[in-house]
Subunit: 299 residues, 2 copies
């Protein structure tokens, strides 16, 4: 498969697969969420089940001139989320999509041991795919949203998830940069120690199907011109596909910086769940939510 190099091609790639995924939308009652669902329906990639307040849903579907969508009337938000999760858990739907609901309430339903979507001992994390006009490839970032201060174990899971995702985008051997402020390892900067350990695992062949190096700064990760300037060799070679961040603060600040200052666009899904789950925030655009659904269709 040809690598998917931007989010528009992600959609056309998924559409070309010819499989409509069943999308359970939890609290499907705001215009951004439903706008994204309608785009996905028009692109022919999903069959939605809209769980939420049917009056609000009817108003939006009418405005959009769309009819015939399946609606489950559950006006209470927390109940709507539980019902949507149940649909996915039972196999009646393939993908869970977040609507107009607080992240806390949404996550509680997903994490529920009896009725949720988290397998035992699974690390719950998040991969965000960002495209910016100034970089020739998609950037797979982890973790901008779920794990605050990852342990080494969690960073290993994050790296694995991001590599898996990049490979589903057709990148046969993703280049992974374990980001830091500097390429030097020092016990004073614990994140650089974690990065060195993960990178050495890659050297020892403990990772297959990916090139992993770190600690690297943003330039060594994403700017080929910086290698000769610093006189440094790294197989990532300024062509990183995946950026693994020290913690949620670094990740969140960079991803929002890319969106705001570098004209970024994104798709994002959770990782570690039994089924694909989107978790875009309420302030994300309909387009980002649509791309996130397309990304979930690939999982």
């Amino acid at each position: 498969m040809e690598p998917i190099r931007n989010l528009e091609s992600l959609v056309s790639h998924v559409a070309a697969l010819g499989v409509k995924k069943r999308l359970a939308v939890a609290a499907a009652q705001d215009s951004h969420t439903l706008g994204a669902v309608f785009m996905a329906v028009r692109a022919g990639i999903v069959e939605p089940i809209l769980v939420g307040d049917s009056a609000k849903i009817a108003a939006e579907t009418e405005k959009a001139g769309i009819s015939g969508l399946e609606v489950v009337h559950v006006p209470n938000t927390a109940d709507a989320v539980k019902d949507a999760v149940r649909l996915v858990r039972s196999g009646e739907a393939d993908i869970l999509m977040k609507g107009l609901v607080n992240t806390d309430v949404y996550l509680r339903a997903i994490l529920d041991k009896e009725q949720g979507l988290l397998p035992p001992n699974s690390v719950l994390s998040h991969v965000c795919v960002v495209q910016v006009p100034s970089y020739p490839r998609l950037l797979f970032l982890t973790d901008v949203a779920v794990i605050p201060f990852p342990t080494l174990e969690q960073k290993l899971a994050m790296t694995r998830y991001a590599v898996e995702t990049a490979r589903r985008f057709g990148i046969a051997e993703p280049k992974v940069a374990l980001l830091a402020a500097t390429e030097k390892t020092s016990p004073k900067m614990p994140n650089t120690v974690d990065a060195a350990i993960i990178a050495k695992q890659c050297d020892r062949g403990q990772y297959t199907g990916a090139v992993v190096d770190g600690p690297l700064d943003v330039f060594l990760a994403c700017d080929p011109a910086s290698l000769p300037i610093k006189g440094l060799q790294t197989p990532v070679a300024g062509e990183a596909d995946v950026l693994v961040f020290p913690n949620i603060e670094c990740a969140n600040i960079l991803y929002k910086g890319l969106m705001l200052f570098a004209g970024g666009e994104l798709a994002a899904t959770m990782m570690g769940t039994t089924r694909p789950v989107t978790i875009t925030s309420r302030s994300e655009s309909a387009l980002s939510k649509f791309y996130s659904v397309a990304m979930a269709c690939l999982q």
Copy 2:
């Protein structure tokens, strides 16, 4: 004074002051450093004293067609740094500029208790001024380079330094965002607690001449459109001049992201020293080093 809104105007502003600062250049023997010095000489803002290997200096001055500059021949790099620091300490020069020398060696000379440039009990930090085409004002970032994991006390000093710097750029009441992954304060995210404390000090009038709020994410700090979306009020209002970061990893990753993905250009100086000191890295362009000298001339 009119606010300085970009780095070109910084230079013309400094030139219009009509004062040539004496610039001691430590290990003045690479083309980026000397290129920056020559730009500053041509702009009429400095009189340099080039401390370093006179043969290498002569080769570069000849190439640039510049003559008559003061050269002090000190071929050993560590000695050249010490001599340049001595010139500044004694008042024979006004500004210390970093040339082709490792940051460790450079800092050691500055931090020397007997012969250095650090007053007792001073917090040594760093302010970096970034301009990006996608933001209508300069961004004063701290600390991308010196303090790894600042304490609350150090964050207070960083905030004070960045506000001082912004005010020297003619921004009468700088808006300061204490950055985090979210605008919510939680003991699980210690940086958000520090931000809340500093913001409350501002509410209580403990800061004058600045508007300080946090924790704020990048959108609330720098995107006015995000306030109504989140339904949140903050006096920073998406128009931040100053960004105070949780730690060096966040700061370094965002600043390099802005340089690489958002077409950024920068100037930077150290803060807390007895005299202005530049500390741009070897990989920085001659233009960034030149802007940093102009910034030091304002201090």
